[in-house]
């Protein structure tokens, strides 16, 4: 069995599971944010439930509309806050206390190797970076999980992505995923799992692995996963004292197919507007003028990302033709970035810095785009209308490309900066 099959077999108590089999699995953690959570709060009352299956295994994290931009959003917050208080949930993260739900889940130690986690947000796939099986579900199913602590899954086929080679300076996990997306296509892994493996992945930091797994849903996948190693164990132990049992695939594990990628000489990759698989090397884009650059999100809002961007921006100014919005993925990252002087670097460069949250990613708050505007974003999704008006254009790229582009006001390869 591969790692996904191993985890699902353990969680369902089945000795052996195979792709296509439907299993009833025990859930280790369940997470909601305010956008999906207010529906869970409503449904929970509608069905007459009184308590969650285990309040220590539930987290409620406000992150999309932070702080509340409208009275309507404030009402959503109030419903979710009351729900968390009524149920006496210790893992409740209010405005200013957490950040993007996925980063909070990871850094507060809720994510552990070998466990099964569901979240009412599609980017729940992120946690596979720590060797967990994690996937996004809707609010109705989440209500059921909150009550029963169980959920059915169809065991997915898994595509193995074997990565070799060394990244050039300024190139990393985001570029690798976009390259994979170009190969697989935006619906090419629907209902499937992606397992990232090989020496390059082994050499990657936990932060970079989170970026990689975060985007698995963008090619339709149910899960993105990296087998746990010493780095994983060390990271998780620094975040929680709870015991855990890492699981790895067998040496004769079966996969749907293997995709081999070599990153030697890979240039920075950009997903062009409309689809994540519409990918080109940065040098082939031509002259793309930018109205906004956004650095942040569960994809690229971690300290490693902010550091890489600040190293390019330090002592320089955001080009007057454009604007830069920076949003750390969590309160902890915000504080870390302050202590490292990164917030000062961004502010002195002329960036707008907002509180830890989803920020501009989903088109509802903190940097919404007007019709006809163009944005380069370090986020994960560039659907039409994603970041604001349907006539706005969104390009996806890495934090280093974002920082270089902020200096020139057009999409720029950081290698071409003087």
């Amino acid at each position: 069995m591969n790692i996904v099959e191993k985890i699902l077999s353990k969680a369902s108590g089945e000795k052996e599971v195979t792709p296509g089999q439907i299993v009833d699995a025990k859930i280790d953690y369940a997470m909601i944010n305010e956008i999906t959570g207010y529906l869970v709060a409503k449904y929970f009352k509608d069905v007459g439930a009184k308590k969650v299956w285990d309040k220590e295994r539930v987290t409620i994290i406000l992150d999309h509309t932070i702080p509340a931009p409208t009275a309507q959003a404030a009402e959503v917050h109030r419903i979710v806050r009351d729900f968390a208080r009524d149920l006496d949930i210790p893992g409740f993260y209010d405005v200013g206390r957490g950040g993007v739900c996925h980063q909070v889940m990871v850094e507060k130690g809720y994510v552990k190797p070998g466990e099964v986690i569901v979240g009412a947000d599609s980017h729940t796939v992120t946690y596979g970076a720590l060797g967990a099986f994690s996937t996004g579900i809707g609010s109705t199913e989440m209500t059921s999980v909150f009550i029963t602590g169980r959920l059915w899954f169809k065991v997915p086929k898994v595509i193995r992505i074997d990565v070799a080679g060394e990244f050039d300076r300024f190139v990393g996990a985001k570029d690798l995923f976009l390259r994979v997306a170009k190969e697989i296509g935006f619906s090419g892994a629907t209902y499937m799992g992606l397992e990232f493996t090989g020496p390059t992945v082994k050499n990657m930091s936990v932060s970079s692995r989170l970026t990689l797994c975060n985007m698995a849903i963008e090619v339709g996948a149910k899960s993105g996963i990296v087998e746990p190693d010493e780095k994983t164990v060390e990271y998780v132990k620094s975040r929680t004292s709870d015991p855990f049992t890492p699981l790895n695939g067998d040496s004769d594990a079966e996969y749907d197919r293997t995709l081999n990628i070599n990153v030697d000489g890979l240039p920075s990759q950009i997903a062009c507007p409309g689809a994540v698989d519409n990918v080109k090397p940065v040098s082939e884009l031509g002259d793309v003028e930018l109205d906004q650059i956004y650095i942040g999100s569960c994809t690229n809002g971690r300290i490693e990302d902010l550091q890489a961007a600040a190293d390019i921006l330090r002592g320089r100014q955001v080009n007057p033709r454009t604007r830069l919005v920076v949003v750390p993925a969590s309160q902890e990252i915000f504080i870390d970035a302050m202590n490292k002087g990164l917030i000062q670097t961004f502010a002195e460069a002329g960036a707008a810095i907002a509180t830890a949250s989803c920020g501009a990613c989903y088109g509802g708050h903190l940097g919404v785009l007007a019709a006809g505007e163009t944005c380069l974003s370090t986020t994960n999704r560039n659907f039409i209308g994603r970041m604001g008006d349907p006539k706005a254009k969104v390009y996806l790229g890495s934090p280093t490309v974002a920082a270089a582009s902020a200096l020139t006001g057009r999409i720029t390869d950081p290698n071409t900066l003087r």
């Binding site: 959003a73 579900i137 994603r386």
Partner: protein, 163 residues
């Protein structure tokens, strides 16, 4: 369980940001969500769907977000059933859990024009297009999924189990 209604037809890769854009996610009134359904591709969709429709779409319908507001908006726009060439995973589960029937059929799409009356039989996955007098076969839903839809969604089943 049979559904009979006029068809409305759209293409491939209709994602959740098209079905219900992010700015509407804090709307708690389900009927209002319904008025914004599919706004990203057809601003007058809810007017066309008012009397009840079968939504016929291409590949990868509902890709992207886990937002249940997407199937809620479609249900409240009076979409009675969705027949797609294929669905994205989370949307597919969400629709079923809300009691909104979803069928995968790759042959139907090219044989439907807007306004055709379609008769969908969920038990056997058969879809009849009266205009051309042809019947198409979709993958029938497994019994436990059909049971969720026939109960009117997962919440109704949960309610029963909590009694």
């Amino acid at each position: 369980m049979k559904v009979e209604a006029k068809a409305l037809k759209y293409g491939d890769n209709i994602n959740t940001d098209i079905i219900i854009p992010g700015k509407y996610l804090v709307i708690m009134d389900e009927e209002e969500l319904g008025r914004h359904a599919m706004e990203g591709i057809d601003p007058v969709f809810s007017g066309k769907s008012r009397d009840g429709i079968v939504l016929v779409v291409g590949d990868n319908f509902g890709s992207g977000s886990s937002r249940e507001q997407a199937p809620i908006a479609l249900k409240n726009a009076n979409v009675k059933c969705i027949v797609a060439k294929s669905f994205a995973r989370i949307f597919y589960r969400n629709a079923i859990n809300l009691g909104l029937p979803v069928l995968e059929c790759s042959d139907l799409w090219s044989e439907v024009i807007e306004g055709d009356i379609l008769t969908v039989s969920l038990e056997d996955g058969l879809i009849e297009n009266g205009r051309i007098r042809r019947t198409f076969k979709a993958q029938p839903l497994p019994p436990f999924i059909l049971d969720i839809i026939q109960s009117g969604g997962l919440l109704n089943k949960l309610k029963q189990s909590l009694k």
